[in-house]
Every structure is written in C-alpha cells, then in structure tokens.
Symmetry: C2
DNA sequence: TAATCAAAGACAAATACAGTCTGTGTTTTC
DNA sequence: GAAAACACAGACTGTATTTGTCTTTGATTA
C-alpha cells in the first residue's frame, strides 16, 4: 500500500505535464532542475513512463517528452502501475501437497481490486 | 502497490482462520509448521493482527489465536492496513517556494482511494 | 510451581530502493 | 558530415527497509 519515491516523482511529473497545457514538449534538463533531481535519474523514471505509453519521447536537438493521451484518460492507477509494475502480489505456499486452497480467493480479490482501480478511474490526476 | 511478504502471510493466516469454521483457537506452533515459517516470526505477524483487532489471543496452556469479528466483516483492506500501516504515501517537494501546487490533487486522490477500499469492501477475503 | 503459551525487542542477513556514472544511439542544425 | 543536443541503457554504490532469528519477559492454566 505504499509507493516508492520513484512513483511519487512519476505522479508529480504527469501532473506537471497536464498542468502545462500550452507547452507540449519538455526536455530533460529543465524538468530535472525544476524537480530538483538529477537528469539521469529523472531520465530513468521518464523512460518507464514512455514504455508504459503514458508519454512519448523524441530524441535530437528539439526533442523531449510529451503526453501521449488526452489528460482525461490518464489515471492515477496507470502511473503507479508503470513504475511499480504489476508483479505477483500474493504467493501460495501454505499447502505442502501442491495445491493451495485459498489461491483462487486471493487471485479473485486481487483481480477485482485491479479492475476496479482501472475501470472506475477514481484516481484520475485531473 | 506491492505488498510485503509479511502482508502476504497475514492474508494467508486470516483466510486460513476463516476456512476452519469449527476450529476456533489456533496455537502458534501448529500454525507455524503448517505455514513453514518460524514460530517467532509468525508470532510477530499475529501480534500485529491482534493490535489491529482482527484477531485475539489468549496466553497460557490452552491459549492461542482466534478471529475477533464475523468473517463477513473482515476485509482485505483491513488486513493490509494492519501490517503495512497507513503512513504518508506522497511527499511534496516540487516547488522551491514553499508551496506545492499539486499537493491537494494528490492528497484528494489518495483519500479517495483509501476510502473507497475501506467502504466498498471489494476485497473481503470471504 | 512447572508447563505452556504469547509479547517484546535487540540483532544480523538479505533484499529493495535511490541515485550516480559512463557509454551508446538518434535527430537536428550548421 | 561534424557537432551539438538530446534520449536510452545498464553497471554500480550506498542506504533504507524487510525478513527472520534469538533471547528475555510476562501471563495463564493444570
């Protein structure tokens, strides 16, 4: 239930992008100094957002980062997932006979949680 | 969005307690060997569940642990909260002038998330 | 009063996280 | 077609968190 600092940064970045409506191409250096973190570290986080298709990047002299979706489609949950991943939350090692009696219960609950967060979009940043 | 192993254990424990309807007093040693973890470590997790009022413990010869609430009132969220706590999720360090323009957005979203998990009880274990 | 049990906390080992450094590949401009 | 501006990738280090053990203390029952 806790988020890493990287996720925190990512949420701030996305919120910042969304707020600057006119502007649509942010380059690394100004962003980094604005957020008080090193360019290379910021780069790592931005790359994760790129891979998650939340933003896009263009290399070269006038390159930079920009949003990929309209702001109303960007959810809190998507940003979190982009950084934290959606790795296995629960293991099943209780039963020594191979099967796990409560595995299904766990997985169902987990799935519900994820779907709910995704579909209902309680957590849109804007 | 990830949970620690301790939370995972806690969810398994709670689910196990709930499944064993007839039985209503579990002592540490059998539980520990059933779950393949050391009694002392299990004890730590159980103690956290006791403090969160999800289970109760009685010391002494015929002591042990048992559920405190009817099973339909035990939520996924409560168990997670019992182990992980509800510490601050987001920081606000973007703005060098003291204020943080997006802080409210963040905190509102966080609050919604927590309330939603709590109230709607999507995640009841049973 | 001895056996059985839970609670608490100090402690070490393992893992995850935050952040830096170095190097590579790409696009534009001159 | 260099050179500058930029993104991308990954190895690496120190620190923080988590996992798990050990030991002691305190409570309850027979």
């Amino acid at each position: 239930m806790k988020y890493t600092k990287a996720t925190d940064y990512a949420l701030h970045i996305m919120a910042y992008f969304i707020k600057q409506e006119g502007h649509n191409n942010f380059s690394l250096q100004p962003l980094a100094s604005h957020m008080n973190i090193s360019p290379t570290y910021l780069s790592k986080i931005l790359t994760q957002l790129v891979k998650a298709d939340l933003i896009q990047s263009t290399a070269g002299v006038n390159g930079g980062y920009s949003l990929r979706k309209p702001k109303t489609e960007i959810s809190f949950y998507d940003v979190i997932k982009a950084i934290e991943g959606s790795g296995a939350l629960f293991t099943c090692e209780m039963n020594e006979n191979g099967a796990c009696p409560i595995e299904k219960v766990m997985r169902d609950a987990e799935e519900k949680m994820v779907n709910d967060l995704k579909e209902k979009r309680f957590y849109n940043i804007v």
